[in-house]
């Protein structure tokens, strides 16, 4: 089985009934899609499959041979964020961050199919995504801001404080 994940081709050894979520997290090592409810109900495992947002936990590997998968790691990098990432940053649209990857991928999918998304469009697109920090207001504002093009996607090079140790978080896009 093979997939194109964030632009790179992967040959995969997982059995065909393995969920895409487990393939991404356990075989490929991409940890932005979170293993939340694993029933399709929380939304945090959402990724783009051939450009459309889908639940990775509900998708068996065998059904998507050769598909192009995009996760948060494929949206942008710390100095050149995607519009949705930049909007989430500017609007403080994350608290604990567990729902954020799914929210961002659903929002990215929405703006791809409806660039001039209205508030109702955003509410409908995020209706199946749980945020237990109750941060929906800032999340919706962020997506509307990205839709309106009111975001600066560039970020300065982060400067380390003198003597500050380099910290690498496994799975972090940084």
């Amino acid at each position: 089985m093979s997939l194109i994940i964030n632009g790179a081709e992967y040959e995969l050894a997982s059995p065909p009934l393995t969920s895409l979520l487990n393939v991404l997290r356990e075989e490929v090592g991409l940890l932005s899609p979170k293993a939340g409810c694993q029933q399709g109900g929380c939304g945090t495992c959402t990724v783009l499959i051939d450009g459309e947002p889908r639940r990775a936990c509900l998708t068996p590997l065998g059904a998507i041979e050769g598909a192009a998968i995009t996760t948060v790691e494929g949206l942008g990098d710390p100095r050149n964020l995607s519009p949705v990432q930049a909007a989430f940053h500017e609007h403080y649209a994350a608290q604990c961050g567990f729902c954020t990857p799914g929210m961002m991928m659903a929002a990215t999918g929405l703006l791809a199919r409806r660039p001039d998304a209205t508030r109702d469009d955003v509410l409908e697109a995020l209706a199946g995504h749980f945020c237990r920090c109750t941060g929906y207001v800032k999340i919706v504002d962020a997506v509307l801001s990205a839709a309106a093009g009111r975001v600066d996607t560039t970020r300065p090079e982060p400067e380390a404080e003198p003597g500050e140790p380099s910290v690498v978080i496994p799975g972090s896009p940084a």
């Binding site: 009934l17 969920s19 694993q38 509900l58 059904a63 409908e124």
Partner: protein, 267 residues
């Protein structure tokens, strides 16, 4: 002592309708996975350990054709795509889950979806009965085409749904349902109906009042001005995790009344 390796479960990915039907055979020991919205959670939780699984993703069952006055929709067409279907199927499809799950779930899966763990599923079944839809399925005894209500009454879980078809007639449609507490909640009770523009041939059905949708013939006999309470003659209400029988007994006539009003206003 030697330990034999566990046999890998068989997973088939048919590339055509014919291959899918051949792989399904008489259905014995076969698990069919369409969109995955029902089965993948069961697999993840270890409640389902299939010996032989058919993935329908590439079987060519996702075609939708309007030809010669008949609409034919493949079993693997997503619920999300059905928001463009005739009413009341479109309204029901719009109220299934959220955008992503709706885009993964399939017509065939929804039609075969029996009761979940303590609650009914299959929100599209009533609209399909109201549209006088027929199901083409394969399995023991070969292929057959039959009305949706007959299909639902004869072990739909043992058949491979291939296609649903109905006449593309200029019918008026109505649909009403109890509000869901969340996008991912199943609808506790919904009612769908269609009628010809001339006001004849009223068809009414409800989902959520039993394991599968049922046709409300008593309401049909009363016509648009009949007593919505007649619907209670056609159902056997029970308590489940979504609602009590007591609540459904009171709400079913309300929903039937709303749908009949919609049809009267549309006419």
């Amino acid at each position: 002592m030697s330990v034999a390796p566990l046999a890998e479960p068989e997973v088939l990915v048919p590339a055509s309708e014919e291959e899918a039907i051949a792989a399904f055979g008489d259905g014995t020991g076969v698990t069919v996975l369409g969109g995955g919205t029902i089965l993948m959670p069961e697999l993840a939780a270890g409640r389902l350990k299939p010996e032989k699984t058919i993935l329908l993703a590439r079987a060519g069952l996702d075609e939708w054709r309007d030809e010669g006055g008949t609409t034919r929709i493949g079993a693997a067409v997503s619920v999300g795509a059905l928001v463009d279907a005739p009413e009341p199927l479109a309204s029901a499809a719009r109220h299934v889950a959220d955008y992503e799950v709706r885009s993964q779930g399939t017509l065939g899966g929804n039609l075969c979806a029996g009761p979940g763990r303590g609650f009914p599923r299959g929100d599209l079944q009533a609209p399909l009965i109201a549209l006088d839809a027929y199901v083409r399925s394969a399995g023991a005894g070969g292929e057959r085409t039959e009305p949706v209500e007959r299909f639902l009454s004869t072990s739909p879980g043992n058949r491979l749904v291939v296609q649903v078809e109905f006449e593309t007639r200029d019918r008026l449609g109505g649909w009403a349902a109890l509000e869901r507490p969340h996008a991912h909640s199943y609808t506790a009770l919904s009612v769908a109906a269609t009628i010809s523009p001339s006001g004849s041939d009223l068809r009414v059905a409800c989902s959520g009042a039993g394991p599968y949708a049922v046709r409300l013939r008593s309401v049909e006999q009363g016509g648009l001005d009949g007593d919505p309470g007649e619907a209670l003659r056609d159902v056997q209400l029970t308590d489940d995790a979504l609602a009590s029988a007591w609540y459904r007994e009171r709400m079913l006539p309300v929903l039937v009344g709303r749908v009949l009003s919609q049809l009267k206003e549309a006419g």
